[in-house]
């Protein structure tokens, strides 16, 4: 059963067993504008929760993307190198950034639910 949770840094993470898929939220993609490039982590890299994992670039800005949960990177979305526009078109689906093997499941449950995140965004 997969569940999606959100961070205050506007990342989403979907967990299936001990595999997590991570990307940026629709709100973040809108704020960023046209995504032109994504720098993704290599498989095997270990990141802690809150650690810098990727960089997403628009024409005028470069933003760090943090790992919502810690673990070892198992792969990234190679399709984004040829078509970064996927991040704008479907940020919470086909525009995913990378996957990792969860180190600690409890980190996931501390994150916001979809409703909580929606409230959080309203307050910005």
């Amino acid at each position: 059963m997969s569940e999606v949770r959100f961070t205050e840094q506007h990342e989403w993470v979907r967990v299936d067993g001990d595999e997590a898929t991570i990307g940026i939220t629709k709100y973040a993609a809108e704020q960023l504008g046209d995504v032109v490039y994504v720098e993704l982590p290599e498989a095997g890299r270990k990141v802690g929760a809150g650690g810098e994992a990727a960089v997403v670039e628009s024409v005028k800005a470069a933003s760090e993307v943090y790992a919502p949960v810690g673990g070892e990177v198992t792969g990234s979305n190679d399709a984004l190198s040829g078509d970064p526009a996927k991040v704008n078109a479907d940020p919470e689906g086909e525009g995913w950034f990378f996957k990792l093997k969860l180190a600690d499941k409890s980190e996931f449950s501390k994150l916001m639910s979809a409703e909580q995140y929606a409230e959080f965004v309203k307050g910005i």
Partner: protein, 448 residues
Amino acid sequence: MRYHPLTPDDRLAMIERIGVTSVDALFRDVPASAVVPLSAFDLPDTQGELEVERKLTRIAAKSVAAGAGPFFCGAGAYRHHVPASVDHLIQRSEFLTSYTPYQPEIAQGTLQYMFEFQTQVALLTGMEVANASLYDGSTATAEAVLMAQRITRRPKAILSGGLHPHYSETVETMAELSGQVVRANATPGKPDDVIALIDDKTACVVVQSPDVFGLIRDLRPIAAAAHAKGALLIAVVTEAVSLGLLEAPGFQDADIVAAEGQSIGNGLNFGGPYVGLFATREKYLRQMPGRLTGETADAAGKRGYVLTLSTREQHIRREKATSNICTNSGLCTLAFTIHLSLLGEEGLTRLARLNHVRACALADRLAKVKGVNVITPAFFNEFTVKLSRPAAEVVEALAGRGIIAGIPVSRLMPHDPNVRDLLIVAVTETSTDEDCDALAKALAEVLS
């Protein structure tokens, strides 16, 4: 004052509109004790053009211009003939007094010539992609080393003994902050064995060709050795015209080319401003420092150019930028582009052959002079000679006779006792047979 259009009446009207009683009131945040009277500055007052011209012309007359007599200095700056159109065009208001093209709709002139420049540099160096220039060849070399350290994630840079000492010193200043710089010993007239120094901590090997002594190097074996150990080859070229005759570093498998473009379009200018050329492989594009212009289209579908991949740069990435660089060489870059456009393939290749022929003729002439030994076997337009007396003294003696004979190696390497007799001699299309004869004759006299 001729540059200040506001009149006293204007100022009064403006002060009134602002609602203060004097201009001083606008400076109210400045601590009163920090405001100094004019008399505190031991400097002259306003002068008209006539006075300024007179003063500066008098000072200029105290130097001996390179064109005043036989002249043979090189070692990173070369005297070439620049066609009159170049200087005329770069002084057009729209080039001279325009800003960095951050508003592309009204800067297509600048952006298009930058695109042409990037293409010219890629073609000359045989590389896939080039930027829109850095400050000069030495800082370009330092940036190349930093880039190699980033790409390979290794600390060590190996500098060939034939690299211009100023370039080596610049690299040391910049690259020792992020790693280790190893300088191979200089071996004037012979290729140094830089391959033996490459290990698995090596980020890059930096080799200049033609080197500071004028020697042409074959980069391919060095590239192979570097790649075998996972390191990059950085090729340095200080005489851009040599690329009109010699094999491009890109076709010798270089990973990054850092070069000095001054020879094309830009005068000697006592050391600056010059123009740094920087080119690399497509796959390293995002690690490249400096400005980049890219082709695109506007809302009406017309082809146009914009600054692009700016996220590498300081104004966006700030502390994560690939470099802190803000300006490029602007007008010097334009001068390069225009001169090279005038030369074209035919002109540049002829110019290069002409330089080489003159250098060969002078080398032959000097080899016949007692006390002079040409030690560079393969060269473009610059070679090193061994004299029977310390070269620095010989240069001073010849300067007294109105001949600027070249650069004593001891000036570049003051602590190496083995180089005191060595003189670097450069010849370009601007040297005549009479100049070369004068040099040979004067050397013969001074060395007898």
